[in-house]
Symmetry: C2
Subunit: 187 residues, 2 copies
């Protein structure tokens, strides 16, 4: 009969899947779980902390690939991060806030740092690659998911933008930069 912390996160995902971030209120979440709003505060001290836990949950499956060259592994981590975000509507915005609040991990960032270092990049360049990749992915996916929701609600027509290729082009530049720095350091 009683709800666990995981139940709360699952109900939050369901609200995002069927509605939107605007509908993800503590009151609505409580109603869907069959409890009063204040019951949620037994699980989380506040909404911000709940959203940070959700952000970690959403990106939990993003792991480094074991095969391919260093640039290919950086690229595949970025693609995996983007896929994880696209899987849950409005999740990019949630991740952005969570990373900013300091209440979530930034484990995907660390994953990419590790991949880049293992590929032979020096520490500073590896940090730069991971930062650029994560911000590109989160930021562009916020734009895409927001458009998707606006179209779903009929408040706007199609944007005419091709987010997949915008992402691919941005990623190409970052990977080219990583490759250039690798070339420099192995010279």
């Amino acid at each position: 009969m009683s709800n666990s912390r995981a139940d709360v996160l699952a109900a939050a995902r369901a609200i995002l899947a069927e509605h939107s971030l605007a509908d993800l209120t503590m009151r609505r979440l409580a109603t869907d779980l069959g409890v009063r709003p204040n019951a949620l505060y037994w699980h989380f001290p506040n909404k911000q902390t709940m959203l940070a836990a959700l952000a970690d949950d959403i990106l939990a499956g993003v792991e480094p690939s074991r095969k391919g060259s260093a640039p290919e592994r950086i690229r595949s981590a970025a693609v995996a991060m983007r896929a994880a975000l696209l899987d849950v509507p409005d999740s990019a915005e949630i991740v952005s806030s969570a990373w900013a609040s300091g209440l979530s991990t930034r484990s995907t960032l660390e994953t990419i740092v590790t991949v880049a270092r293992d590929g032979g990049l020096d520490a500073q360049t590896a940090d730069g690659v991971a930062t650029a990749v994560c911000q590109l992915t989160i930021g562009l996916t916020i734009e895409e998911q927001t458009r998707t929701q606006m179209e779903r609600l009929g408040v706007t027509g199609p944007s005419g933008r091709d987010f997949d290729s915008e992402f691919a082009r941005g990623l190409d530049v970052i990977v080219a930069g990583a490759r250039a720095q690798t070339a420099v350091s192995t010279d």
Copy 2:
């Protein structure tokens, strides 16, 4: 006695400067302007539109530099964008939402596309550079400004992060990528 649209935006900036985005409510804005909350709806159809206008206002001064090599001009546009954001507390988050909503221009993005093309990059690479630069700048500045506010409110101690160098490292990778693509196309 009566307020213009520009007065509303100026009052919004003042709230950000003295308080935070959380305090930037339509009700507080109205109080500061000496009117009732609903008076603001004469100037803007809703809060989202007001924030989009504010976002454009904040980035209005970011213009391409006329001197230096192509990589230097890309770098200086990125630095100018970051400076404009850092000048207004919590503005990066506002710009992120505004770009996503489609209610603001994305003129800074276009500025960087132009700078990159004029530097000899092909259209696709120029788009990739501009996208990567803008998302890096907005995303990292969201994190920095959020930390600044949390420290200001005493809810957190110092993060120990050096956002200036995180930004510099990310930007270095993107500029190296731009340079690499230039080299390829002029070969």
